[in-house]
Symmetry: C2
Subunit: 482 residues, 2 copies
Amino acid sequence: MRWPYIANVIGILLVFLGLSMVFTLVCSLIYADTSLVALIESMGVTIAAGLLLYFGSRRPTIDYISPREGIAIVALGWTVMGLFGALPFYLGDGLPHFTDAFFESVSGFTTTGSSVLTNIEGLSRSLLFWRSFIQWLGGMGIIVLSLAILPFLGVGGMQLFKAEVPSPVPDKLTPRLSDSAKILWYLYALISVAEVIFLLAGGMDFYDALCHTLTTMPTGGFSTKNTSMAHYDSAYLDYVVVVFMVIAGINFSLHYQMLRGRTLIFWRDSECRFFLGLCLVLSLVIAFNIHGTVYDSFGKAFQYASFQVVSIVTTTGFATADYETWPGLSQAIIFICMFIGASAGSTGGGMKCARVMVCFKYCYRELFVLVHPRSIVQVKLNAAVVPDSVLRSIMGFLALYMGLFVFSSLCLAALGMDMVSSFGAVAACIGNIGPGFGTVGPVDNFAHISAAGKWILIWCMLLGRLEIYTVIVLFVPEFWKK
Amino acid sequence: MRWPYIANVIGILLVFLGLSMVFTLVCSLIYADTSLVALIESMGVTIAAGLLLYFGSRRPTIDYISPREGIAIVALGWTVMGLFGALPFYLGDGLPHFTDAFFESVSGFTTTGSSVLTNIEGLSRSLLFWRSFIQWLGGMGIIVLSLAILPFLGVGGMQLFKAEVPSPVPDKLTPRLSDSAKILWYLYALISVAEVIFLLAGGMDFYDALCHTLTTMPTGGFSTKNTSMAHYDSAYLDYVVVVFMVIAGINFSLHYQMLRGRTLIFWRDSECRFFLGLCLVLSLVIAFNIHGTVYDSFGKAFQYASFQVVSIVTTTGFATADYETWPGLSQAIIFICMFIGASAGSTGGGMKCARVMVCFKYCYRELFVLVHPRSIVQVKLNAAVVPDSVLRSIMGFLALYMGLFVFSSLCLAALGMDMVSSFGAVAACIGNIGPGFGTVGPVDNFAHISAAGKWILIWCMLLGRLEIYTVIVLFVPEFWKK
Ligand SMILES: [K+]
Ligand SMILES: [K+]
């Protein structure tokens, strides 16, 4: 483990983070709010820390990064971003307790969207912008991490990629890191611009349209309104956000391929088909379930059902209705969706559709082998055989996900939380969704949780966002041995 | 699939079931209750059906049973036992609706212990005895099935054994089926006699001592009292039952080995160590959790904590307290325990400790491989390497268990049940536990569930008891092809 190199990379990231605060400064100047000084301080501290790390360390001459170093950079990188991203909230009187500020910041960078703010609209406009902006940065990080950086790392890097997205690799975008990153970010920005335009067309003002776009594309879910998207009470805006949540929940390399002319790619890709089918079928099921019992017209029922389903399946977490008041079936579906999550290679969290599909096929194979003991059956995804090592990695991922969900829920319950809220809060945080169940439902917030509980949830958000392995491997003694 | 052979075996089983009803007749005569006619009718119908099947079919001359036939016998056998075991309840005015009688009977034979009786003590003494007795028969079936019959089936039989207990095989008891069965049943009966004596010593009358023993040993959990074991309010009786629940939750081949002089076997066997450790640690954690909040003295807290923990971990389902009134941590632990279950080769249900242990080791291996990509690590249990095919089978089992838990819960919720009760009822039935959460907690019953809901839960009980694969493979088209 070459720490100087790791420090060097973290330093560069911090300088960029500090520089990106300039948008927030502009926002503060435009709205002449009270956060200007705090923002300048935060920017100064972040850039200074970044420069200190950068010049205090030395960039190794060999251009090779080991899997372990890669893992350390990823895990440490996200934590440090969370730490410095918390400064504006902490210094700007938004969240005077550091735990709260750190929670909100990690919830941003991991695109979780769970909030400790009891009055979101009470925050200054520049801090609200920062809150949305860090989700957008987190989304950028996730796309590039899972689709470009990790595969680029080569042999060891493929191992790392396995840690991040242990699922069949989509066609590599371009062989070189910088090119891939540029293309992906370009796409991400392009779709973001489109969403702003569509939201403006629905009558949203520019500030809100921008902020909501910055949290839709990374499937983040922070809103500038206390009542989230329910504030606007507009079917047009709801459906615009639904469409863009779906787009954000699709593997970004498919978007790239579609722009390159492969127009049927969304249908041809089996994970995408599964994801789109899941959104549609569950929206219909819940619409029928809440039609009559909660909403009189089927149109309204479908509007609210599809919004909530897509919001949870894509792990965005926006809300237009309180699903905790819906019938048992709808609640159970929403709870299960928190685990499934969006597509691999998207900005969404959860277990990912590809892994769930592979798990289905894995089980089917076991049943087939029971009937035909001597047959050899291979698990395929998109007509390609999934190698045994990848299968093992996926099954291990799913088991670790469930195991850590249980472990973290028990820790939260040990702090005095009730059972449903413990399970709900951890499911929401480890899946990077945002709202959960019980006392942390879509119309609640995470403010009432004890400081220790917030640290457990911060741990869950990082676990989920960095695909479990990258974080949990740090606790394996072998990781630290020569 | 040679159906005549299958019918022949089922016929033999039915004749034995009919003959075993003679104990119930004796019970009815002793207490001079009103069920005598119904019992004679049930006995007649069962024996007649058995003889009809036996003589209507022909025993094949070749002494070989294919894996598929074995699976069909197991799945069909348990269902048919449930069907004819329901007759006394149905004809004896105990449960006038056939769905209810069938539910209660399957709950007996699968040693689940979920009841649709709203007033247990209102049933005649002979029917209450039958209710306990079928659990004892179910337990006999499970031990012999998992430890003697399945391994005895040879090559194809090992595949079947894999379906029943896809876990490292404990040392085979004796090479021949009949010997193994005799030894196991002897042991089972011997321990049962011991429990009756200990219960009598605590002041329980003979009828109750016998009935509770008949439901402790198979980890069944049916009680003759409305308030289950809480009725006796005796620390001595509670601890006696705790000890015998623990014994019933241990692999019966270990009991055999201990009687053969290997006195440290419980400690040497890693699954048994895990199981005993789990019971002890969770009892202590819950005792501390409910001490002060629910019970003033730690002694009382430990008494109720250990009883409830052991009752759920061993999947017995007796109750001395309503864990739904306990703090969140205790409830969450109890809920998780419903999935873990007892040891493989015991009469307990759930996923089984051995599978959970193997899953832990599987995950650890994946983390190890991430750090050392080129290393080959083998998963071991009791110092023996677990072959890859067994590992796959176990991971598939766990995934199927969770998947079917989710699927069945959604079906139950679709019938209008609330989320927590749906998850609780299915967890309780698929794990063969008995009481669940929500409206089916330890002081509630399953009577209020709709007929369709009861059929879903009957399906869950059979799924869990026959180790998932044996039932679910019937739904794979390949199973029915030549
Ligand atoms: K989110
Ligand atoms: K039971």
